[in-house]
Symmetry: C2
DNA sequence: TTTGAAAACTCTCGCGC
DNA sequence: GCGCGAGAGTTTTCAAA
């Protein structure tokens, strides 16, 4: 099983990252390949894990997620167990879209989606701040989203 | 044109955010609706802008985007023109996946995807730092990605 | 990788609730 | 208004070469 991507594979990934509703027929036309070839390539790209999933991207403001916040969290204890415990607990909160462990002075940065500041405040008090081992939390709030892309350049 | 979502619409959005490869037939079965109804609902959800697009989510490590960084950028000038100019220029860089204007002391936070630290360094020196009006840039680097979700709770 | 044919799915229309 | 059935038109799938 070769894992290297040839130019056709890369082009498929480039296109599907932007629009995964294209039919195999349309893709085949763009790539000058047969439909069966395109189908086979995509199947392999999924099997090999290049494509993790195909999802719908929603307009968050329309579904009442008007506020995005980035709390930076510093922990008291930095043992392996403490880090893992924090990650495990924080992942359970539905407001937490992403959780990254960082280098530097902040241990973690989260991306939180809530409807408004009141809801965020409740999340902070009733959920995040109740976790053991938290030292400090400094929250940044998004005023505007200038660029938001899920497609990596390939 | 009503804009409120009924429980069926919400369930459709919930499902498609996690897996948009389900056929209308499968969705119809899950929802106890007819195929035609499901089809009609999804069409409306796209037309009304709830669903912005359907995309493939890739495994970034497999496509040589091993490093995610969050540079926080402070500008010198804070006029409307200066902010807009910065947003416009930064959006052109292919390494920039996201750009948020923030409240608080940092003006912007970016999410940058590169293959490694060397490439990030080049991005910083040759691209980001060449923009006019930048005061300071403080970069955080991701050690590990604990949670990464594109699906909002609905 | 391609072809070709069968199976599955999509999408629209018109009727009924 | 909303949902459903049926059918033509597309797309996908899976042989075999």
């Amino acid at each position: 099983m070769s894992t290297a991507l040839d130019p056709t594979d890369k082009e498929i990934l480039r296109i599907l990252q932007k629009d995964a509703t294209l039919t195999n027929k349309e893709l085949a036309f763009k790539l000058n390949k047969s439909i069966a070839t395109v189908h086979e390539r995509i199947k392999k790209l999924k099997e090999q894990g290049y494509i993790k999933r195909i999802v719908a991207i929603l307009d968050r403001k329309k579904i009442d997620k008007g506020l995005i916040a980035f709390p930076q969290v510093l922990l008291k204890e930095h043992t392996a167990e403490a880090l893992i415990e924090f990650e495990k607990e924080v992942a359970k909160f539905s407001e937490v879209m992403e959780c990254f462990q960082l280098t530097g002075s902040s241990d973690f940065i989260l991306r939180i989606a809530t409807s408004d500041m009141d809801t965020y405040h409740l999340f902070l008090r009733n959920k995040l701040a109740t976790l053991p081992n938290i030292s400090t939390v400094q929250s940044f709030f998004v005023l505007s989203e200038t660029k938001s892309d899920t497609a990596y350049p390939i």
